[in-house]
């Protein structure tokens, strides 16, 4: 008996962004609010970070709720039905269940089930990782349309009294539909990791530590004591970063990766309409733009001033704002680059919807 030849999907020539959506939660946290928790001032925070406000979600609004909000807008803007979606990719580090995924529930709520759905853990590079995968899925013929969502509820994993990162962070969600295109609408992804800097950004401790403490506390006589309460409060894992190490990597290493993404797409900085780096800190954005020698007419996303740093959500949120404020950018090229905890990074040039 001869071995039959397998069929494979027919590959497509290109992919592009069909539609974009955003969800910005309602609570506005000002620098004055932040100064109740850390010894600082509005002027200091603006000067050092460029942040004026951040949006944060109320307790009852979840990662899934925000993702569904952004996803619904992206589907509607793309002009497709949710049932046409062939995969749902959700980049997040703040969905509070190790399993099941946020993506499976989001797909169900949006009407995209039974599409395959999974979460991506790539922190602030997560959205660009999602775009890299969606582009490959569409062009390989595995899916016709892919919903990519970057969503974070970072307010659940901050300690308002620490000074390395918490005061920068906000919540939100951004989403895009990636679908087929006759013309290439997504350049080659330049992505990677550097685990030698695994400790540079991340949680203070693991869930195993939480388990060990809980077991200990249940046996201890002083479980009701103030000391135990305090220990418990500080045991909730929260984010920290080594700002100097991250800054050097985010500017000088990421400038090289951003240039590589331009080279691989076969374009130069002068061909861009927009530059949308991860909204980590205004000084990183400014220094990256300087290193890339962007012409003045290239619009630089500065959503961070109003939204704070929203990790995986920051690039689609910033792109959504740029397009709303500058509709003439539609059809133009945007260089996007995400970078963060891992350390991991991802960059690509995309044609704006």
């Amino acid at each position: 008996m001869s071995t039959p030849t397998l069929k494979q999907h027919t590959a497509r020539t290109g992919s592009r962004i069909w539609g974009i959506g955003a969800f910005r939660p309602e609570v506005i946290v000002t620098n004055e609010d932040v100064c109740q928790w850390i010894d600082s001032s509005d002027e200091w925070i603006r000067q050092r970070t460029g942040i004026i406000t951040r949006h944060r979600a109320p307790r009852e609004v979840s990662v899934v709720d925000m993702a569904v909000g952004a996803g619904a807008e992206a589907i509607s803007k793309a002009g497709i039905e949710a049932s046409q979606i062939g995969a749902v990719l959700v980049s997040t580090v703040t969905h509070p269940y190790a399993t099941p995924s946020a993506a499976a529930l989001i797909a169900e709520k949006l009407g995209a089930a039974p599409a395959p759905a999974y979460d991506i853990s790539a922190a602030c590079a997560g959205y660009c990782y999602g775009i890299a995968q969606a582009d490959a899925l569409v062009r390989a013929g595995t899916a016709e349309y892919v919903l990519v969502i970057g969503v974070e509820k970072l307010s659940d994993v901050i300690d308002n009294h620490e000074r390395t990162i918490s005061f920068l962070l906000g919540d939100g969600a951004g989403a895009v539909i990636i679908g087929p295109s006759d013309e290439p609408g997504i350049g080659p992804s330049v992505w990677g990791s550097d685990g030698s800097k695994w400790d540079a950004i991340g949680m203070t401790h693991s869930l195993m530590d939480v388990r060990d403490f809980s077991e200990h506390a249940m046996k201890a006589d002083d479980v009701e004591s103030a000391a135990a309460d305090e220990a418990h409060a500080t045991l909730w894992p929260t984010l920290r970063q080594d700002g100097q190490t991250v800054y050097r990597w985010a500017v000088w290493e990421m400038a090289k990766m951003a240039k590589k993404a331009l080279d691989e797409a076969g374009i130069t900085a002068g061909d861009l309409g927009a530059f949308v780096p991860h909204q980590a800190n205004m000084r990183i954005i400014d220094e990256l733009a300087k290193q890339l020698k962007l012409p003045e007419y290239v619009l630089i996303a500065r959503d961070i001033a109003e939204a704070g740093n929203t990790s995986a959500a920051s690039i689609p949120l910033a792109t959504h704002r740029l397009l709303a404020e500058n509709p003439e950018l539609s059809g133009k090229l945007s260089l996007q680059i995400g970078f963060g905890a891992g350390l991991v990074f991802g960059a690509q040039v995309v044609r704006l919807p």
């Binding site: 050092r48 080594d242 100097q244 190490t245 050097r248 000088w252 800190n281 000084r283 220094e287």
Partner: protein, 81 residues
Amino acid sequence: MASNEEILAGLAEIVNEETGLAPEAVELEKSFTDDLDIDSISMMTIVVNAEEKFDVKIPDEEVKNLKTVGDAVSFIAGAQA
């Protein structure tokens, strides 16, 4: 290889470019944070520019040891040797 005086003058130029501080304010005994009011992010920009100017490597873990301008001059001089 640059002399200590040349390194100091070069550093003063870099500090001036990053912060606008007059080059003559950048003296050996001055603390980057307490006297020159240079924050951690500006310090890293100064470090990277110094690496390029003097063709040395200043590792991340070394940066926190560079408290004064003199510390930086000594480190760069040593790294060049």
